[in-house]
Amino acid sequence: MAPSPQTIGEFSVLPISIPPVPSFPRNVVHYLYVRRNAPKIPTANDSRSLFLANVPVDSTELHLRALFASLVGAGRFESASFEDERKEAEAVAAALDAAPAQAVRLLAAHGKKRKREDQEAAERAEEEAAARLPSTWSRPLRKSGSTAVVLLADEKSVQQVLKAIAKVHKSKKYPTWGGDGNIVAERVPQLGSVWLKAHNQLSYPDRDQLQAAVDAFSTMFARREREAAEIAKRLRNEPDEDGFVTVTRGGRSAPASTKEAEEAKKKMIEKAEKKKQEMTDFYRFQMRERKKAEQEELVKRFAEDRQKLDAMRQKRGKFVPEA
């Protein structure tokens, strides 16, 4: 086998040998792409973290720990965070945050961000975690081809890892997925039928647990709604830089519900339609014009039919009786 390239762009290629499984008894190589972590918005830990692309779908932190242990020895690996976990958390937070929508919108319109003290942010995170519903899978899978960020003990470890990867190419001794002898497999939740069974079980979470999550959410929601109302109230009395006062809901009269607004709209349309109906064919010229329009329509349709026929003709065999 020709040697595979050691690097692609700024990534080092890390081949991982994957032990055969009974249903697919082949020795397979998976390729992980590794580089120093350099996110667009730098963080404190960038210098001692690595960016991994194309992680296997069944990756867990334990898998990665075993992998790095086999490269640079134990004790260098601190933690890993996976892309889809991060994304999901962000999406959920955003969704929970977006409620109640009214307040967010008002703030966005005013170009103001809610002040967030560090402490407050932590509080919110805790609140959101409590409101989160339990997962239905005993072990998450990564999206194919997704990324992860691995935090190592120090900057030196990063260097060592990259060197070790280069060495792997020379020695052709690829690290084994799941550690030698697949020791990781016994410490992470099993996949396969047990995993599917667990999914069945987890799909029906404990009632109290579920209720707690819902309750946590409603408390949070109620509080935020209150906050939003306060903001709205404040805005009602505050002119902006140009001297305009934003019209907000909840003024003197009770707020119009969307439902009522929609009904009113429906009524208006109905009324307009009725009026229109009464006025058709009232004058003779209307009737004449209508008839003329109908005739034109007929001519137009005839032309259309012709066109359709031409299209059919182009598809061969449309006019030949089946044998």
Partner: protein
């Protein structure tokens, strides 16, 4: 046409009158409505037109040669027939094709030969009405037997036909001598009529066959001169064959209508030629109308040949000409005006045939009275004295009538595509026409009856079979069980000059029965009431005579005592078979031997074990649902009033392959899905996320209330949806599973109207970014599908399942077909149901199917012909969709195709009356179901299936259509049924989360494991384990065009899953987040870099990567664990 001379022809019966009245209406409406139909018909005429010069090259010189050759034959004086025959046969080594019974050696009438007085070319060659697609092309040349060789009394006792055969023999001998190089000579029967043998010449083709040249033949037809026989003696009721009946005077008295008509037809060639020529001249569109008629008849398997029904192009042309003729009557004008166009004439003919059943009431054109009742169909041309329909049988007349009726209803349906079913579709395939086909072996040696007419004993036997079956199955008083009974007789073939015509004694008669689905399931037939009056007694006696010992007296409610028949079978097919076997055994003494009577057609029901009791199981499920609905409505402390609970799953609309509750014991309960909606309320929070959470609390409360109201009877679980889209907080989060201890289980989801309003607002909100807007609109369409379309769809499918008894089994068979071909994961259930429904609502050119097998085959035919790239599937569920809406739907499809010409987002376009957007049934989560590739595969599979159906004909083995082919797949995943079975049942307290515990549990004894869950009820299944597994795989690998693998899987019983590598994912430049697992291409791309990072060269090419196929398969194997038994790579 001058109004004075135009006179209305008298039509001999009242039905004819009304037919004529309707004809005008049908014809005049033609212009305004079916514009497209007219244009298309014109196009068809262009397409089928034959180029006579190239197609029938050299025919004229050949005809001249034949004429010369015949004219050169030496005349000879009268000789005794036997003597002359032997002489001729010995001299030229040919056989004279005498009709049966052959003339005896002692016959003392004499035959002579003289030069024929007249030659002429007749038929469609002269009128130029041949078409390209004809089964065979023939040029008819008639040779008139000179009058001096015939005598007036020759009309009796086959004498004319003996002389005719001798004449033909002489001609054959001469042509054999002269034209041996020009072609092959053989005998055949004219239209299968064994009285009239003819000579055919198939010209040899020299050298290369030219493009467009046809394999035609010349038919040399001897005929009688006009006015040689006394016409008054040849009427339909006359008995002209006395000898054939033997010496018995009784038998001799039977009339011989067929013989008489054949005799009349012998001298009618010229009169009809004249009639047709006249009409052609008078009516410009006549020829075109004849061509249209020819195509129409041919697509329905009707033809002039007796085996084809005896109604072909010639009969069509004559009938049309007669309807166009202004007669010499005193009343009115001709039924049809000569100024009508071809399509109008065609429509008028269809209209006429659809109201005129020739076998029920004789139809007389012109002034004549028929003296006697004849058994067969009659279409009497008074001027020429011929029953034009003499070659027809009762069943072929019925077939013609039925097809005309179907075509008429199609032509009256302005919304359907009228053209294709009328002319293009081949409508005579046995399995698309008949629900049951039986083969009856006829053994001529056993048949001791003497034929009374000259149609052959086989024909008379078949006629008897038909009469018996008609009385048994189509008795109006009992309630028609069959809509049509058809008998297909074997065709006669041509034979060598040196041989005698085939005298095969064993024939197989094919009987096709089309059910009346509503009546065929009846197991008790109520005959006439037994009463004291003579009339009633006679009725009963007749009933008993026909039904034999099967008939018994029974008392019914209301104290009526009736003759009754009790049948033991249950399914329509078995019932029909039972009745046919019984009645044929009773009246014809057949069916004692195993292979004497063979039935085909129930192979399909066995495939998925369709049972007649299935309907009641589905109804039981519906009943369970309504009691569940009642339980919910009766709950006291509900904060909102329940507006509706609607089922949305196939089990509750008679449409699941397996009947409901059939798998209860093996797996955990499988809840039937429903949605619940409440009265409008302002209490819902104005935030989608909050609404979803509120729903959870609501579901929990419903569950608690139900458990409290029915303690011990109900268990309920709140389940969490395993989401497929990324943002889990905006969609529905949970459902409530309710399990009755008595068996049924239901799954409830809550509909909140505010959710829809919020989603609508979000999807139109210009202030939020494109991505979120798109997401909102996807969620909105999911929402509408779940809470509006599916409940409505379920309702309408249920309605149609009641209206069409064969509908539900057809859906199930069709779903099974999709599943066997591993397509079902790509199609929504509702789409398949709508395809089946379309076959019932728009069944043209037939009527709605009355059995599942016919339904399935027609659905496959539909799928094979559906050009989904440019045509929407419009299912008119309300039956009154205006054409404006139809065209709006078509326009919408065109718009979609313009936006998305590669069909990445919208593929199949299906609209119904309730849902006209066209994508609701074929899009899930914003992704087209199926994708273009899969839709193309569906069409290809349906086409293959239709080809098999066409090629196999009656011998079709149903199983063949369901055999999947796995060789197209790159990878096969073999799933372990054992592991899946284990997954099917899970108990709440089983410890599965802790890996060490799970590992430990393996080592422990089985019993300990059991004891921990003993007494517990299994959890319901969130979805079938296979579905869970593959939807998870789809989630991690993506769907649509970005997924590396496309999976093909069938229903739950299909344990082999096929997969194909996505061909569009080739080598590409590496970047982060390519969406799937890639490996570097070895040696691909540019030079390799030296050293580690940072040592880059400017001019370096980019390194390419490709999909790591093995890596992905290994991942799937790891994720699947023991569920995936084997990953088989078929292609690297």
């Amino acid at each position: 046409m001058e109004p004075g001379s135009a006179k209305r022809r008298k039509i001999g019966h009242s039905r004819g009158e009304s037919a004529v009245g309707n004809i005008d209406a049908a014809a005049s409406s033609g212009l305004s409505r079916g514009r497209a139909f007219i244009l298309e018909a014109e196009e068809l005429l262009d397409e089928v037109k034959l180029d006579y010069a190239t197609a029938l090259e050299g025919v004229d010189s050949l005809l001249h040669k034949i004429k010369g050759s015949i004219e050169a034959i030496e005349a000879h004086d009268a000789l005794q027939i036997a003597e002359a025959a032997t002489k001729l046969e010995k001299k030229h080594k040919i056989q004279i094709p005498f009709p049966e019974p052959r003339p005896s050696d002692k016959s003392n009438y004499k035959v002579a030969f003289a030069k024929p007085t007249q030659f002429n070319v007749v038929g469609s060659y002269v009128s130029k009405t041949m078409i390209k697609a004809q089964k065979s092309h023939a040029v008819d040349m008639v040779v008139v037997i000179p009058g001096e060789t015939l005598q007036e009394k020759d009309y009796l006792d086959l004498r004319y036909f003996y002389k005719r055969a001798y004449f033909l023999g002489v001609v054959a001998a001469a042509l054999q001598k002269d034209l041996a190089e020009d072609g092959e000579l053989s005998y055949e029967y004219l239209n299968g009529n064994s009285l009239s043998p003819i000579l055919t010449l198939k010209p040899k083709v020299e050298g290369e066959k030219k493009e467009g040249r046809l394999d035609y033949r010349v038919r040399i037809i001897p005929c009688a001169p006009d006015n040689i026989f006394p016409k008054s003696k040849l009427h339909l009721g006359a008995t002209l064959v006395r000898k054939a009946g033997g010496d018995d005077s009784k038998a001799a008295a039977k009339p011989t209508p067929f013989y008489n008509s054949t005799l009349v037809s012998e001298y009618c060639f010229f009169p009809y030629l004249k009639l047709l020529r006249q009409t052609e001249k008078k009516c410009a569109a006549f020829k075109k109308a004849c061509i249209l008629g020819r195509v129409w008849l041919q697509q329905r398997g009707l033809g002039s040949d007796m085996a084809d029904g005896g109604f072909g192009h010639f009969e069509w042309a004559v009938l049309l000409a007669l309807l166009l003729q202004s007669g010499d009557n005193t009343r009115g004008h001709a039924p049809l005006s000569t100024s009508l166009s071809a399509t109008q004439l065609f429509k008028a003919m269809v209209q006429f045939l659809s109201v005129t059943n020739l076998s029920e009431k004789p139809c007389v054109l012109g002034t004549a009275t028929l003296e006697s009742e004849t058994a067969g169909p009659v279409l009497f041309d008074a001027v020429r004295g011929l029953n034009v329909a003499f070659k027809m049988s009762n069943w072929s007349a019925a077939k013609l009538h039925q097809h005309a009726k179907w075509t008429r209803s199609l032509l009256n349906d302005s919304t359907a595509d009228q053209f294709t079913p009328t002319f293009i579709l081949k409508a005579d395939l046995p399995w698309q026409n008949y629900d049951l086909i039986a083969h009856l072996n006829y053994d001529g040696k056993q048949d001791k009856t003497q034929p009374s007419d000259c149609r052959g004993r086989l024909w008379e036997y078949s006629d008897k079979v038909h009469r018996v079956l008609k009385r048994a199955l189509q008795d109006e008083e009992l309630g028609e069980r069959a809509r049509s009974i058809h008998i297909q007789l074997p065709k006669s073939s041509s034979w060598d000059l040196t041989k005698k015509p085939s005298t095969k004694q064993n024939h197989t008669i094919e009987i096709g029965v089309l059910f009346n689905a509503a009546n065929m399931t009846r197991t008790v037939d109520r005959g006439p009431a037994a009463g004291p009056s003579n009339e009633e007694k006679e009725e009963c006696a007749r009933f008993q005579r026909f039904w034999g010992e099967k008939s018994e007296l029974r008392r019914f409610e209301g104290d009526s005592i009736r003759e009754t028949l009790i049948w033991t079978s249950t399914s329509p097919f078995d019932l029909c078979e039972e009745i046919m076997r019984y009645i044929l055994k009773l009246h014809l003494r057949v069916g004692y031997l195993e292979d004497e009577l063979v039935f085909h057609g129930d192979g399909f029901s066995d495939l998925i074990s369709l049972k007649p009791t299935d309907t009641s199981v589905f109804n039981a499920a519906r009943k369970a649902f309504s009691s569940f609905e009642k339980d919910i409505r009766n709950l006291d402390d509900m904060p909102l009033h329940v507006r509706q609970i609607a089922p949305i799953c196939p089990e509750l609309r008679h449409a699941s392959v397996k009947v409901p509750f059939s798998t209860v014991s093996k797996t955990g309960p499988r809840p039937l899905e429903c949605v619940i909606s409440f009265e409008a309320s302002g209490k819902w929070p104005e935030s989608i996320v909050a609404i979803q959470r509120t729903k959870i609390a609501f579901l929990r409360m419903i569950g608690d209330l139900l458990e409290r109201s029915k303690p011990g009877e109900v268990r309920s679980y709140v389940g969490l949806e395993s989401s497929t889209t990324t943002n889990t907080e905006l969609e529905n989060l949970a459902y409530l599973d309710i399990i009755y201890e008595s068996g049924p289980a239901f799954r409830l989801r809550i509909h909140s109207d505010l959710e829809e309003a919020l989603l609508t607002r979000q999807s139109h909100d210009k202030t939020i970014d494109q991505h979120h807007r798109h997401q909102a609109s996807v969620l909105l369409s999911n929402f509408r599908r779940l809470y509006y379309h599916l409940p409505l769809h379920t309702q309408s499918i249920n309605t149609f399942a009641t209206r069409f008894p064969a509908f539900s089994p057809t859906i199930r068979l069709l779903k099974h077909w999709f599943s066997s071909h591993k397509l079902s994961s790509h199609f929504t259930q509702d789409f398949i149901e709508l395809v089946a429904l379309q076959v019932f609502l728009s069944p043209y050119p037939w009527d709605a199917p009355s059995s599942p097998s016919v339904g399935l085959l027609r659905a496959l035919l539909f799928l094979s012909r559906w050009d989904w790239r440019s045509e929407p599937l419009i299912v008119d569920t309300n039956g009154d969709m205006p054409s404006s809406e139809r065209s709006a739907i078509t326009t919408r499809l065109e718009a979609w195709r313009k936006i998305d010409p590669l069909m990445n987002h919208t593929v199949l376009f299906v609209a119904t009356a309730q849902e006209s957007s066209g994508v609701a049934y074929t899009t899930i989560n914003g992704v087209a179901q199926p994708s273009k590739v899969v839709a193309a595969r569906m069409t290809a599979l349906a086409k293959t299936a239709c080809r098999v159906i066409r090629e196999e004909g009656v011998d079709l083995d149903a199983r063949r259509l369901f055999v999947p082919s796995t060789k197209e797949y790159d990878v096969l995943l073999h799933l372990s049924s054992k592991a899946l079975k284990a997954v099917g049942k899970v108990y709440p307290s089983e410890d599965l989360s802790n890996p060490s515990a799970a590992a430990a549990a393996k080592g422990q004894s089985k019993y300990k494991n059991l004891s921990s869950t003993a007494g517990e009820d299994a959890l319901p299944l969130p979805s079938s384990p296979i579905d869970s597994f593959f939807s998870k795989l789809e989630q991690i690998y993506g769907t649509g065009s970005s997924a590396p693998l496309v999976f093909f899987r069938g229903g739950e019983d299909e344990k082999v899953v096929g997969a194909i590598w996505n061909p569009t994912l080739g080598r590409r430049v590496f970047k982060v987040n390519l969406g799937t697992s890639y490996k570097p291409v070895v040696g691909g791309g540019g030079k390799k870099r030296k050293g580690g990072d940072g040592d880059e060269k400017e001019e370096e090419e980019e390194q390419l990567v490709e999909v790591n196929r093995e890596g992905i398969l290994s991942e799937i194997a790891r994720v699947g664990g023991e569920v995936v038994e084997r990953v088989e790579v078929q292609r690297e």
